[in-house]
């Protein structure tokens, strides 16, 4: 076998090894991460604040009257299929007002199988939280909820979520206010998270 052909086969083997190494080592997906702004509590749990600025973080609002839904071209099924159920989609921000995820809030007061208010909060680099809120808010307008399940970072945590609407300042004409969500989570058996 000539040296040229031997060199070709050497290149063949090196090329295959190189391609394999590249595919193994190079991450095909590299998600952007924001630092988690978590406050650690004396009981070992943590509190994290999420924010939704209205109206700019609103992606969708599906209402019983489809003509009032957002965006205007949304063909929402409305009252006929969904009764008084309302579905909303938002971008979710951290305490620094940086977008870190997306979330859905669905609610119905007259659903035949039982009323509900729920959040699903999806943070691409961290996981998803599924939260069920109490139907009746406290006197100061705060609604408390329970973490039903979580995935990845939230999988082993338990705790709750507080939902609060903060009205915009009277002189702020661009804002309709803010939804503030405080997640209070604790690890299993007092494990700090």
């Amino acid at each position: 076998m000539s040296r040229v052909i031997k060199t070709f086969f050497l290149g063949l083997v090196l090329g295959a090894i190189g391609a394999g190494t590249l595919m193994w080592k190079m991450p095909a997906v590299d998600l952007h991460r924001e630092s988690s702004l978590v406050t650690v509590q004396p009981n070992g749990g943590n509190v994290e604040e999420f924010r939704i600025n209205l109206p700019r973080d609103r992606i969708m609002v599906g209402l019983p009257d489809p003509n009032s839904s957002i965006p205007a071209a949304l063909d929402w099924p409305g009252q006929v299929l969904l009764g008084d159920m309302q579905a909303e989609l938002f971008k979710i921000r951290d305490r620094n007002d940086t977008v870190i995820g997306v979330g859905s809030r669905i609610a119905s007061a007259s659903e035949a199988s039982g009323p509900f208010i729920e959040w699903a909060l999806h943070f691409p680099a961290r996981g998803t939280m599924y939260v069920k809120l109490e139907m009746t808010p406290s006197e100061d307008g705060v609604r408390n909820g329970l973490l039903m399940s979580g995935t990845r970072e939230f999988a082993k945590l338990s705790g709750g979520l507080r939902e609060e609407f903060v009205a915009a300042a009277p002189d702020d004409e661009e804002s309709q206010g803010r939804i503030r969500l405080n997640a209070m989570l604790v690890g299993p058996l007092g494990e700090s998270e």
Binding site: R3, V4, T7, F8, L10, G11, L12, V13, L14, G15, A16, I17, G18, A19, G20, M23, W24, P27, A28, V29, L31, H32, R33, I59, M60, G62, P71, A72, A73, D75, P77, L81, L82, M85, A87, L89, K91, V99, I100, G101, V102, S104, I106, S108, E111, A112, S113, G114, P115, F116, E118, A120, H122, P124, A125, G127, T128, Y130, S149, T151
Partner: protein
């Protein structure tokens, strides 16, 4: 000089052969039979069109093949949600009647390993079925077969499209059997934990607009106490 050219040709050929081997690896890919096909639990089937413009809403970073729908919907261009899409759709029962609505969040996963035939996405469904209640499905999905059998052939085709038959289970976790995890929220599903799988059936795909003919199906196993009406 001739040795350098020979080495270069060898390197390129070796890399190409390796990539071809990975692409055609018959030992990886998605199953076409649902792990829930043999469950003893009652089953709810929820169908939906996986063509974004047939749904209620689809949004992403606005720079992919699939255009956000409907007009003027906010796009997910911020760095932390750039690789995420949200899809809202009507859900149909097994009999083809309207059953409710579902919201699907889908993000690329860092556990993707192309060498192993794994193009992983993390996804979650938030579902409301009138008269029955609410639930959340969390799952990992493997899009390797979808990319290999549909998207890449469409890009290689002179017509920039793909036509054929594709029927695969997309769910590959997090449960040991490759099923998704279901958490009941309210109504008949309150307190329930169960399993589900998502299947995809496709007949047409265009490189210009994405899915042309594509149907999704969610199969949920419902433990006895939570009585399903489907």
């Amino acid at each position: 000089m001739k040795y350098a050219i020979s080495l270069l040709l060898g390197l390129v050929t070796g890399a190409a052969l390796f990539v071809t081997g990975v692409y055609h690896n018959p030992f990886v890919g998605n199953a076409s039979v649902s792990p829930l096909a043999v469950t003893n639990d009652r089953v709810i089937d929820l169908g939906f069109s996986a063509v974004p413009s047939n749904g209620l809403l689809h949004t992403n970073n606005g720079e992919t093949t699939i255009t956000p729908y409907p007009e003027r919907v906010a796009e997910l261009w911020e760095p932390a949600v750039y690789d995420t899409s949200v899809f809202v759709t009507r859900l149909e029962s097994g009999r083809g009647t309207d059953a409710g609505v579902g919201i699907k969040f889908l993000s690329k996963s860092e556990s993707t390993r192309l060498l192993k035939g794994q193009a992983i996405a993390n996804s979650a469904w938030h579902i409301y079925l009138p008269g029955q209640g609410t639930l959340m499905i969390d799952q990992t999905e493997n899009y390797w077969s979808y990319l290999r059998d549909i998207v890449i052939p469409a890009h290689l085709s002179s017509g920039d499209n793909w036509r054929g038959t594709f029927h695969r289970v997309m769910t590959n976790g997090p449960s040991a059997l490759g099923t998704a995890r279901v958490t009941g929220g309210s109504g008949l599903f309150a307190g329930m934990t169960s399993e589900s799988v998502e299947l995809l059936r496709a007949e047409g795909y265009s490189t210009r607009s994405g899915p042309v003919s594509m149907q999704g199906n969610l199969t949920l196993a419902i433990p006895s106490p939570a009585v399903a009406q489907d």
